[in-house]
Symmetry: C2
Subunit: 188 residues, 2 copies
């Protein structure tokens, strides 16, 4: 199996990606190095710069993922700063900001940046559309999963088993793109 | 007069600092280069890294200031991401998050990083304590000024003339520290 490091300090994210990757014959190993994330409104830019740094340390195939929840009525907030906002305000903070708001449209975006020897950084994007529910539901997943319900579903991400969530998920889509790209080039 | 570049794209901030600096015999010139700001919960760290980048381009005395509004009841939110949060949620977003909250304590923090030839980066900090008012008041200043009232005052920053605000302000304090340091070394 093709082995790729995943530079992240987020255990929940690591486990989710590791599970997803197995379906694509990708062996993912956690590299708990904390890349510096720049302040930028583009997830792709943040992930690209972080994977470059991680590659300099590891000198082996490595990926970095940056994801965010974008809420239309809040002009895209919390976007690239989702994990900071989650730590400070939690799901309740977002629900409070959304009180009385009829436009509940939101999407999760994932930018997966990959770097291997003798190649430029490649970024793969995944997106899932859905809505911010009125009350948090479910205890699975992590982050804002309890308040996000993907389109055409009656359950939030936090009410789904990992395998179900992964069928929809932004992260799963980005990883599928990476896997396809690796396959085309004969890596896997 | 000793000349120092101020690397910022924020015109309001530049004018405020320029005015403040005159009192210290410091001539400030805007260098509209946008340093990359890292994602970090320490303003000092963000400003230090940005001033290092700006210095590499300018090769002349330069400063970068990073400031944030820290709200106790929101675990320090919006903190280092204040300008992003201001753009996305505005003062109304903060007031909404603070609805029903009795602890209104908050403080502005300013980290001013300075770099000149043949010296390491120095960081000067300034802080002003106060509270988040119940309704926005005033039209002066910029950012979260209309909802911040410094201790012992009955007006928000946005209700004060620039000279008054500067007597209290976090930014004024950090700049005074820098001026004192420059004076000790005979620069001004």
């Amino acid at each position: 199996m093709f082995k790729v490091y995943f530079a992240t300090s987020n255990k929940g994210k690591f486990l989710e990606v590791k599970r997803l990757a197995e379906a694509f014959s990708l062996q993912v190993e956690q590299a708990p190095i904390k890349g510096v994330e720049i302040q930028h409104e583009s997830l792709a830019e943040i992930a690209s710069q972080a994977v470059r740094q991680a590659y300099r340390k590891l000198k082996a195939p490595v990926m970095v993922e940056d994801a965010g929840l974008f809420i239309e009525a809040l002009n895209g907030f919390p976007g690239p700063y989702s994990s900071y906002v989650y730590r400070k305000l939690g799901v309740q903070g977002i629900l409070k900001l959304m009180e009385g708001e009829r436009n509940r449209r939101a999407w999760f975006l994932s930018a997966l940046a990959f770097k291997a020897p003798k190649m430029k950084v490649k970024v793969f994007l995944g997106r899932v559309d859905g809505e911010i529910v009125l009350q948090a539901r479910g205890r699975k997943g992590f982050g804002f999963d309890p308040i996000f319900q993907p389109e055409g579903e009656k359950r939030t991400f936090a009410e789904m088993e990992p395998e179900e969530k992964n069928r929809f998920s932004h992260r799963g889509k980005a990883l599928a793109e990476l896997a396809e790209w690796l396959k085309k080039r004969g890596y896997i």
